[in-house]
């Protein structure tokens, strides 16, 4: 299961290695945790819909980073590299944990806490319905849609994580939204 993460790590490090790695300074691992742990947690949570599982994924992702610490200086863009590690680890873990089992609780946690109870309940039901419809989307469209939820990630970075081009990601996002709307209307 960890093989996908290893493969992705190798692929990304080969893709992101600069021509002159010696000139770059090795980033501090503590700074990486401070800057990217929140993003990685949300990425993992969008796939797993379980906070505890998402936190485990984030810790595993940073352990992988620690094991590849000597390669960090050669990586140009750290954010998609880290997101891809966490993304693949989350996909591996999602095979064991069924995200739909957590939809009701998870939807309740996503609702804003300052809303009235009846409104929060209605909003939680709506979020649960959308999450359930997203689960029935094709895999590539669903993945592109989940990653597009992260504001920090551009379309190019989503394409880098998914191994697709920017235009392909845009096409996937359009089809995913259209299909999801149709299912929500029906």
């Amino acid at each position: 299961m960890d093989a996908i993460g290893e493969q992705a790590l190798r692929w990304l490090s080969a893709e992101s290695v600069s021509a002159e790695p010696a000139e770059l300074a090795e980033p501090d691992l503590t700074a990486l945790v401070r800057d990217y742990s929140g993003l990685l947690y949300r990425v993992a949570l969008s796939v797993l819909r379980n906070p505890a599982e998402a936190e485990d994924v984030v810790q595993d992702a940073f352990i992988r980073v620690l094991q590849r610490q000597h390669e960090l200086a050669a990586i140009l863009d750290l954010r998609p590299w880290l997101v891809r590690i966490a993304w693949n680890l989350a996909l591996d873990r999602a095979r064991r944990v069924k995200p739909t089992q957590m939809d009701e609780v998870f939807a309740a946690t996503l609702v804003a806490t300052d809303l009235p109870a009846d409104q929060a309940l209605a909003e939680a039901g709506q979020i649960k319905q959308v999450l359930s419809a997203m689960e029935r989307l094709p895999k590539k469209e669903r993945q592109a849609l989940l990653l597009s939820a992260m504001d920090e990630l551009s379309t190019a970075e989503i394409g880098s994580v998914l191994g697709r081009s920017e235009s392909s990601v845009r096409s996937l996002l359009f089809r995913a939204r259209t299909r999801l709307r149709q299912r929500l209307e029906g």
Partner: protein, 234 residues
């Protein structure tokens, strides 16, 4: 109308925004840092990198594992074959479980019965493990069997003649006796006043003694010849 069509999109955007706004649990960074601190620092050598890159694929690891097991199996078989001792004639001729009975039976009737000696065999494992047994001899030839039969039945004196030294000594004694018999004894020295006599017997009178005694046979005594010189003795 437009608002109804935008309703699903709003729901989708609201859900995606909720996913984006999820807050990590308290102390996440501290727990990650503590777990990272507990991890040993990686110290990759060139050998580790080489092994890691060459054995990255699962099939490559499987092949290496299979090859290792095959080599171990071949080595074990070779080692077992090397340690197995060659079959000895002792184990081939005598069953290991049955006791060996040696009956000493004399050909001459005796007052007491024959002594039956029962010898328990030694441990078969010891005999198998011992590798100092001589190579089993080939069957005896007819000459060897005849020699054994002769040694069991012949007279010791006859057997003694088979000894080459003893035989050579006997031949030397025979030769000495032969020489002694046919060699004439040395003639005693004749007295100075005795006339020389022809030692050869007279063919006309073979019964005549070659050494006539003049005292007992005065007729046979030759005439005195004082001028004859005596024959030197040998």
């Amino acid at each position: 109308m437009g608002t109804e069509q935008d309703q699903p999109y709003k729901a989708i955007d609201k859900t995606l925004a909720a996913l984006n706004s999820a807050t990590p649990p308290e102390g996440l960074e501290a727990r990650i840092t503590a777990r990272l601190a507990a991890q040993p620092a990686p110290a990759l050598t060139w050998g580790d990198r080489l092994i890691g890159y060459t054995l990255a694929a699962a099939w490559c690891r499987g092949a290496a594992t299979g090859a290792t097991f095959a080599l171990l199996a071949v080595a074990a078989v070779l080692l077992l074959q090397h340690k197995t001792p060659p079959p000895s004639h002792v184990t081939a001729n005598a069953p290991a479980a049955a006791p060996i009975k040696v009956a000493a039976i004399s050909a001459i009737p005796c007052a007491r019965p024959a002594i039956v000696l029962t010898r328990t065999p030694t441990a078969p494992a010891t005999e198998i493990a011992s590798t100092s047994h001589p190579i089993p001899s080939s069957p005896l030839t007819s000459q060897e069997r005849a020699l054994i039969r002769l040694a069991q039945t012949a007279d010791p004196k006859v057997l003694a003649t088979l000894n080459s030294e003893h035989q050579a000594q006997l031949e030397a004694e025979n030769a000495a006796q032969f020489e002694k018999f046919f060699t004439p004894p040395p003639r005693p020295p004749a007295p100075p006043d005795t006339p020389a006599v022809n030692p050869e017997p007279d063919p006309a009178n073979p019964e005549a003694s070659p050494h006539p005694n003049p005292e007992t046979n005065p007729q046979a005594a030759p005439p005195t010849a004082p001028e004859t010189t005596p024959t030197p003795s040998n």
